[in-house]
C-alpha cells in the first residue's frame, strides 16, 4: 500500500474530500488555496483562487459540478468544479468552519464560528445545481446554537435532520425543514470538542471524532451510540469505509501540546478499527504532524489523509485489505452464500 504524496500546499491541511466517483480529491489548507488532484496518480489538475484567509472546509456536490468552501475570511463560496470559476460568495460575521451538501445536492449548509457578539450558527441555502444559474442570497434556514457552539454539521438521510457536533462534546438533532431542536445528547466527554462528523453512505448513521480520544458511531434518528472506538490520542477526524466494515481515525497531539516532540510520541498514524467489533486492526504511519482529516474513497478503494505537515497522503488499498475477515464474518459470508 505505497502512498502517493500530494505536495502543493504550503501550510497545514484542514480538510480533504473525494468526489462521488472517487477519481478526484479536493483539499483545503491554511494557505488559502483549494486544490484538485487526480486520486490515481496524484497529479494536480487545478486550483481555485479567491479566498483571503485560511480555509477550513470543502465539499463537492453529488454530480461533481459544484464545489463549496469556507474559511477564515468569513465567506462561504461556491465554485464550478470544471472551470474553477467562482459562482457565489456568501459573507458572514465570522469564519465558516464546515460546509456540507445534502445527499441530493439541493441544500448546502455552513457552520459559522462563535466570536464575541456572535453566536455560532448553522445556515442553509437552497442550491441550483446548474453552474450557470444565479444562486440565492436568501437563507432557507438559520439555526442559532446558543448552548454550545457547533463545530461540525451535516444532513441526514433524505435531509430529514441536520445533525451537529459541538464544542462541549454533545450532538444535536434538528428538524432540517423548521430548524427546531429535536434532541440533544452528550456523546463525548464533557467539554471535549467534537472535531469531525462523517456519514455512512446511506446517512442513517455517522461517526464523530473528539478531543476526548474516542470516536463514536451514532444512529441519525435515535442518536444512540452504536459503537465506541477508544484511542490514546486526541482525534481530529474519523471516517467510515464502505465495502469493508472498518473505520479510520486520525489525530495526534499537536507539537505545541507535547513537551518532547517526535513523530512517535505524537502518534501521527491513521488507525483502522473494525467498525462492528470495535477492535484496532492496524495503523498507517507517514505524516510528520497530526492528521487533521481522513477521507475514504466513496467506493472503498482507498483513503487519503491531510496533515498538519502540509501533505496529503493517498493510499490505495491492496488485496490483503479486502481479503481480511474475522472468523465470524467468514461464517456469515458462507451462510449467505449457501442461501
Amino acid at each position: 500500500m505505497r502512498p502517493i504524496l500530494l505536495s502543493g500546499h504550503e501550510r497545514a491541511l484542514t480538510q480533504v474530500k473525494y468526489n462521488p466517483d472517487g477519481d478526484i480529491i479536493f483539499s483545503v489548507s491554511k494557505d488559502h488555496v483549494v486544490c484538485a488532484w487526480f486520486s490515481h496518480n496524484g497529479e494536480r489538475l487545478g486550483t481555485y483562487h479567491g479566498h483571503q484567509g485560511a480555509l477550513w472546509t470543502v465539499d463537492v456536490d453529488p454530480t461533481s459540478s459544484l464545489l463549496a468552501t469556507g474559511g477564515a475570511d468569513n465567506t462561504m463560496r461556491l465554485w464550478e468544479v470544471k472551470t474553477g470559476k467562482l459562482l457565489k460568495t456568501w459573507e458572514f460575521a465570522t469564519s465558516i468552519k464546515r460546509v456540507e451538501f445534502s445527499s441530493d445536492g439541493k441544500l448546502l449548509l455552513g457552520v459559522t464560528e462563535k466570536r464575541s457578539g456572535h453566536l455560532s450558527t448553522i445556515v442553509v441555502y437552497e442550491i441550483n445545481p446548474d453552474p450557470a444559474a444565479e444562486q440565492t442570497d436568501e437563507q432557507a434556514l438559520r439555526i442559532v446554537c446558543d448552548e454550545s457552539k457547533a463545530t461540525v454539521a451535516g444532513f441526514s438521510y433524505l435531509s430529514h435532520y441536520i445533525i451537529s457536533g459541538h464544542e462541549d462534546g454533545s450532538v444535536s438533532q434538528w428538524d432540517a425543514k423548521t430548524g427546531e431542536l429535536l434532541f440533544s445528547t452528550q456523546v463525548h466527554e464533557d467539554d471535549m470538542q467534537i472535531t469531525d462528523l462523517q456519514w455512512a453512505p446511506d446517512r442513517t448513521y455517522f461517526i464523530t471524532a473528539s478531543k476526548d480520544k474516542t470516536a463514536k458511531l451514532v444512529a441519525a434518528d435515535s442518536l444512540d451510540v452504536l459503537k465506541s472506538y477508544p484511542t490514546d490520542t486526541p482525534l481530529n477526524s474519523a471516517a467510515i469505509t464502505p465495502v469493508k466494515d472498518y473505520v479510520i481515525l486520525g489525530g495526534g497531539q499537536a507539537a505545541m501540546d507535547v513537551t518532547t516532540t517526535s513523530a512517535r510520541q505524537g502518534k501521527f498514524e491513521a488507525r483502522f478499527y473494525h467498525k462492528i467489533f470495535m477492535e484496532e486492526i492496524g495503523r498507517v504511519r507517514g505524516h510528520f504532524g497530526p492528521l487533521n482529516y481522513v477521507a475514504v474513497h466513496p467506493q472503498g478503494l482507498g483513503y487519503c489523509s491531510g496533515g498538519e505537515d502540509g501533505y496529503v497522503r493517498v493510499h490505495h488499498f491492496d488485496k490483503p485489505y479486502f481479503d481480511f475477515m474475522y472468523e465470524v464474518e467468514r461464517e456469515q459470508a458462507q451462510a449467505q452464500a449457501n442461501l
Binding site: P62, D104, D202, R203, T204, Y205, I276
Partner: protein, 61 residues
C-alpha cells in the same frame, strides 16, 4: 479488552463477536427497510445520485 486483542480468541470472544455481527446486520436491515418505506433512492444507492441525462435529452428535443 486485552483478551479480545489476542489472536487466540477463546469461545467467549468469538461468541461475543458473533452476537455483535448479528445485531449489526439486524439493525442495518431495519434501516434498509425504513429507507425503502421512505422511498430514499439516493440513500439506497449508497449515497450516489443516479446521473440523469435528462438535460441533454431535452436539448435534442
Amino acid at each position: 479488552q486485552d483478551l479480545a486483542k489476542k489472536n487466540t480468541a477463546n469461545k467467549a470472544v468469538v461468541d461475543a463477536r458473533r452476537r455483535m455481527l448479528q445485531e449489526w446486520l439486524a439493525w442495518r436491515e431495519s434501516m434498509r427497510q425504513m429507507l425503502e418505506e421512505e422511498g430514499a433512492e439516493i440513500e439506497l444507492n449508497a449515497g450516489r445520485v443516479k446521473q440523469d441525462t435528462d438535460d441533454e435529452v431535452e436539448e435534442v428535443e
